[in-house]
Structures are given as structure tokens and as C-alpha cells.
């Protein structure tokens, strides 16, 4: 994760390397400190694993959305697309009884296909991303219900399916740190997305599109193709999210997912990615997603009344972003 990757970060001006990156964690660290002091139960291994586990799905969705946001777009469909991919996995594994890898591949392909469609609607039909993905959000929500027959599809016939998210390969090797696979998958997705953003042509065009699409077009670049590519990659990542949540719940819950897009976008923005495009980092998004999970978990551990949890969460999200703004300004 250390090698994050926005070209912006390479400038000596806004980012000054390791020290700066440490500072970016400050909001998260402050929260962790406060909760650790307030409750002895917070810093328990079990609880930390619970927080990480809770971050896995939102983190993966947020990374998917990060890619699209850097192009200057937005994706409101990630929540329901995740569910759609989970349902597709359910159909393949439970209804058709095919082997597990096919279910996983199917889910990721479903995500990719949906991303291709969103990307095509945005790039070719010039429909604003907000509307294109809002439409897709509704379409996918409906289709998930249709395909599943409006009821959950369970993976009881696919033994080991719930180990994808809940098992711990790490724990088998080092029993003291039973980090669930779901969390390792989140990290793997983050590494992959960082790599793509930082090291590949697709990543470079992602930033370039968000920075000045017209300039990219006039440079003779096939803007549409790359844009569709970004949406497709984003969709594939959402597919991974679909597998994760299906595995965690050992079922595809067709009605889940709406509202998750806002939380994913919130993680992205808290992580310092600009909604106007052209800049952003996967590491920031991970931190943003962690801030959200830590906050939710910590407030619950402290038994704060649920209505006040909401108030505190809202306040801290604003403050976290404000602190980040102050930090950047003083750099």
C-alpha cells in the first residue's frame, strides 16, 4: 500500500513523502486513540478483526468508486451491483450447482459487464455518470429481485464458500493474527487498484480524463475506450465485493445494497479524492473506509444510543475532512 500512486503524489509540493503519509492517517489514529482510552474492549484483537471485517465490503466498493471518481465521474450503482453479482454467484452455484470457482468468475464477469454498460452509456451516449449509474442502480436492483425470485439464495450446497470471506489463511500460518481472508482480499484489491492507477496506461488515462477530458481527446487518445475500461474495471472490483458479501452472509440477499453507494463515496471523499476528478489515491480511500468502520464500531462499543451515534458520525465525518483540509493547507 505504501506505493500509492496518483501522479499528484509525485509532486514535491503537495506531498512530502513518508511524513505526509503518516499525517494522512492522523484522523484515523486520533479516533483509534480516543476509543482505546474510552473502552478497554476496543483494542482487543477480536474487535480489531471485527472492524477490518466490517471494512472489507465497503472498502472494496469504495476502491471501485475511486477509479470512476478520478475520471471525473461518479458511480451510484456499486451497492446494487454488488448484490447483483452476489445473486449471479448464487444462481451459478446453488441453482445450477456448478463448482465454486465458476461462481466467483461469474460474479466478477457480471460486474465487468455492468461496468461496460455503464461506461458505454456514459462515454458513447454522453449521459452524465450520475444519471447513467442511477439508472443502472435501479435496473440492477430490480434484476436482482427478479433473478433471485425475491428471496435469498443460500450457499449451503457449496461447502467452503463462506470461507472466502470468513476463513483465515493468515491465521493458519500465524495463529496469533487470524486476519480473515475478506480483509486480505480487500488489501489485494487495493494493491491491484494502486498498481493499475500508478503504473499502467489505464491508470494514467484515468487521471488524465478527470483532469481535462477534451485535452486527452485532442491528444488523439481513444477517450471512450479508456473510459469504458475504467468503468469495467470498477465493475469487476464490485464483483469481488459481491463475492465477499455473499460469502460473509453465506447467501445472496437480493434486497441489500441500496444506500451502500453513499457510504462508499463518503469513504472516497473522506480519503481526500476530489469529486471533480483528476486526483485521488487508493490508500486515502482505504483510510476513509476505515474511519467510517472505526467510528461505527467504537460508538457501538461505547453503547452510545443509536440516534446519537448518527449525530456523532455526521459531525466527525465533517471534522475529519476539515482536519485533512487544514493539514493540506499548512503543508
Amino acid at each position: 500500500m505504501t506505493d500509492t500512486t496518483a501522479p499528484a503524489q509525485k509532486s514535491g509540493i503537495r506531498f512530502t513523502g513518508a511524513f505526509h503519509r503518516l499525517l494522512a492517517f492522523s484522523g484515523l489514529i486520533a479516533l483509534v486513540l480516543v476509543f482505546s482510552l474510552a473502552s478497554p474492549n476496543f483494542m482487543q484483537t477480536q474487535n480489531i478483526l471485527a472492524i477490518l471485517q466490517a471494512t472489507a465490503v465497503n472498502g472494496v466498493l469504495a476502491i471501485a468508486v475511486t477509479l470512476v471518481i478520478i475520471t471525473g465521474g461518479i458511480d451510484l450503482s456499486v451497492g446494487t451491483l454488488m448484490t447483483f453479482c452476489a445473486v449471479i454467484a448464487g444462481v451459478i452455484l446453488t441453482y445450477w450447482g456448478l463448482p465454486m470457482p465458476l461462481g466467483i468468475i461469474g460474479a466478477i464477469l457480471a460486474g465487468t459487464a455492468s461496468g461496460l454498460i455503464s461506461g458505454t452509456v456514459v462515454a458513447k451516449l454522453k449521459v452524465p455518470p450520475f444519471i447513467a449509474t442511477l439508472g443502472m442502480m435501479l435496473i440492477l436492483k430490480g434484476l436482482s429481485l427478479v433473478i433471485s425470485g425475491t428471496r435469498p439464495i443460500y450457499f449451503n450446497d457449496t461447502p467452503g464458500f463462506n470461507q472466502i470471506a470468513l476463513g483465515s489463511v493468515v491465521g493458519q500460518i500465524i495463529p496469533a493474527v487470524p486476519v480473515p481472508n475478506g480483509v486480505m482480499i480487500l488489501f489485494a484489491v487495493a494493491l491491484l487498484a494502486s498498481f493499475v492507477l500508478g503504473k499502467t496506461a489505464l491508470g494514467r488515462y484515468t487521471f488524465a480524463l478527470g483532469s481535462n477530458e477534451e485535452a486527452v481527446r485532442l491528444s488523439g487518445v481513444n477517450v471512450d475506450r479508456w473510459k469504458i475500461g475504467v468503468y469495467a474495471l470498477s465493475g469487476a472490483i464490485v464483483g469481488v465485493g459481491g463475492v465477499l458479501i455473499a460469502s460473509r452472509l453465506n447467501s445472496a440477499q437480493p434486497a441489500l445494497g441500496q444506500g451502500y453507494e453513499l457510504e462508499a463515496i463518503a469513504a472516497v471523499v473522506i480519503g481526500g479524492t476530489s469529486l471533480s476528478g483528476g486526483r485521488g489515491t487508493v490508500l486515502g480511500t482505504l483510510i476513509g473506509a476505515l474511519i467510517i468502520s472505526v467510528l461505527a464500531n467504537g460508538l457501538r462499543i461505547l453503547s452510545v444510543a443509536q440516534e446519537w451515534q448518527t449525530v456523532v458520525t455526521g459531525t466527525i465525518i465533517i471534522l475529519a475532512v476539515y482536519a485533512d483540509i487544514l493539514r493540506r493547507r499548512n503543508l
Binding site: 465490503v57 444506500g259 461505527a296 464500531n297 443509536q306
Partner: protein
């Protein structure tokens, strides 16, 4: 007395039904001298959010847990974790497919909705078109109530046709719009079953806004629904005993902590109430505002 810490994870939080469960739990907490926390996801589809809540509750190391599962399977690993940690689990509202919970405080939603169907059939004279406005297409309570109602109609009342089943998320405004559309599309409709509080209030609103005279059967209680029943807009409603569910859950948890024996099921019952029997002490006790 021991100051036990009991965490209740419910299926919802903001709806009056769940607030009534919470009120019962709080009452029991006061009576028994224990501490109770109550939490639930925003909608009944957010299974994973409920898992996060359960996980956080476990981290808190409570003395006992009360749990109303949105999906029993999904919760199994965490419930196992609770059992391993020696934390007794009491299921409430709907059963959990697992032998971990020591007991379940619940009512039979299917049977309750079937009773609503019987009442509806009687009030519309055993024939005609009816519709259902429900809260949730995929949640257990949503499925049970819709199926309980429609299966009973199909089995017992061949002359009654269910022309439309629509879902308004328990949102009153949305349920109002849905009701109006149903009424306008089916001018000869005889009755609507509203499958939870928000749904039936929407149905009542829609009926009033269009000046219709259909028969409305509701579910749950609450001040507004009671008022509508008194004024005759709603003919009557099924109520469970949410306050009782909350109270009994906490009571069962305390009993478990004290090592007492628990029955497998604590049936908290359901009732049909209307303007005539609302003030009966037995009924009034299970209604909430």
C-alpha cells in the same frame, strides 16, 4: 442484584414496532435492575449491517445477547462465537435456525396474517378484489405476512382475488402513493391489507385522500393506527405484543444468567383488535402508542 449488561440486536430501530420492543426491554431492565442496549439496522434488508452490530456487541463482552435475526444463516458464525465465549443468546421476534439460542420470544407472523385474511373475508362478504401494501419484499416479516395473508385467501376464499401486492418500504408517504395508484387502477377494489404500521398508515392516508370506502385491515398498533381504527378508516388490525417480546427477551436473558431453565419457545401471542375491543384491558395491554 447483579448489574447484567444485555445487548439487544433487533431487526430495526426507528419503526414504532421496534420502539415498542425497546420500550418493553427497557421496562424489564428497570424492573430487573439490568442494563440493556438496543440497536438495529435501518432497513430489514441490511443483513450485513446487523452482523457488524452483532460483532461490535460481542466485542463489548456483554453478559447476554438478545438477537432478532434478519437472516439466521448469516449470523451462525457470530452466534457460535457467542456460545464459545459463554454468552447466552436469546432469540426474539423470529426464530433462528440454530440450537444456540436458549429460547425464542416470538409470535407466528404467518398465522397472524392468516387471521387478518379471515377478518378481511368476513368484512367484504367473502368475495371481490383485495390488495396488499407491505413493507418489504425480502425480509422475513414481509414475506411471512404477505404469504400468510395470501395463502389463507387462496385456500379458504376462492371468490376473493388478490389483484396487487406492492411494497412501500414501510415509508408512509410512499405507501400513500402506492395505495392511491392501486385504488385508481382498481375502482372496484373491496379491501387492502397493510402489512405493517407504516404501510397501513399509508393505506389509510390514501383511502382518505381519495375518499374511498374500502375495508382496511392493519397490522401492529401505534397512536395513529388506533385513532384511525376509532374513526373507522381502518376496520381493525392484527397486533403482536412487541412490548411483551421486549420484556420477555430481557427476562429470559436474566433467567439464563441465573441458570434457570427456559422453555423452547415463549409465545407472546397475537390479537385482532377493532374499535369494539380496543379498550378491553387484555387488548389495551398489548397495544402501544
Amino acid at each position: 442484584q447483579d448489574n447484567y449488561d444485555i445487548a439487544l440486536i433487533s431487526k430495526g430501530f426507528q419503526h414504532q414496532f421496534w420502539q415498542a420492543v425497546k420500550a418493553g426491554a427497557d421496562q424489564a431492565a428497570a424492573d430487573l435492575g439490568v442494563t440493556v442496549t438496543f440497536e438495529g439496522p435501518e432497513t430489514e434488508s441490511q443483513v450485513d449491517r446487523q452482523m457488524d452490530m452483532l460483532a461490535a456487541a460481542l466485542s463489548r463482552q456483554p453478559d447476554a445477547i438478545g438477537f432478532a435475526a434478519l437472516d439466521s444463516q448469516a449470523a451462525t458464525p457470530l452466534l457460535q462465537q457467542a456460545q464459545d465465549a459463554g454468552i447466552p443468546v436469546i432469540a426474539f421476534d423470529s426464530g433462528v435456525d440454530s440450537d444456540i439460542p436458549l429460547t425464542t420470544a416470538t409470535t407466528d407472523n404467518v398465522a397472524a396474517a392468516a387471521l387478518a385474511a379471515d377478518v378481511m373475508a368476513e368484512l367484504i362478504g367473502g368475495e371481490g378484489k383485495v390488495a396488499i401494501v407491505a413493507h418489504d419484499q425480502t425480509s422475513r416479516t414481509g414475506i411471512d405476512r404477505v404469504e400468510g395473508f395470501s395463502n389463507r385467501i387462496k385456500e379458504a376464499y376462492p371468490n376473493i382475488e388478490i389483484v396487487s401486492v406492492q411494497y412501500g418500504g414501510g415509508d408512509q408517504l410512499q405507501s400513500t402513493e402506492i395505495t392511491k395508484s392501486i385504488l385508481l387502477a382498481n375502482p372496484d377494489l373491496k379491501g387492502i391489507f397493510g402489512a405493517n404500521e407504516g404501510s397501513v398508515l399509508g393505506v389509510a392516508n390514501g383511502k382518505q385522500e381519495l375518499g374511498s370506502d374500502i375495508v382496511v385491515i392493519g397490522y401492529d398498533s401505534g397512536a395513529a393506527q388506533k385513532a384511525f381504527i376509532e374513526s373507522g378508516v381502518i376496520a381493525g388490525a392484527i397486533t403482536q405484543n412487541p412490548v411483551g417480546i421486549g420484556y420477555q427477551t430481557v427476562q429470559a436473558a436474566v433467567s439464563a444468567l441465573k441458570g434457570e431453565e427456559l422453555p423452547e419457545i415463549i409465545d407472546t401471542g397475537f390479537y385482532y383488535y377493532n374499535a369494539d375491543n380496543m379498550s378491553d384491558p387484555q387488548i389495551a395491554a398489548v397495544l402501544y402508542d
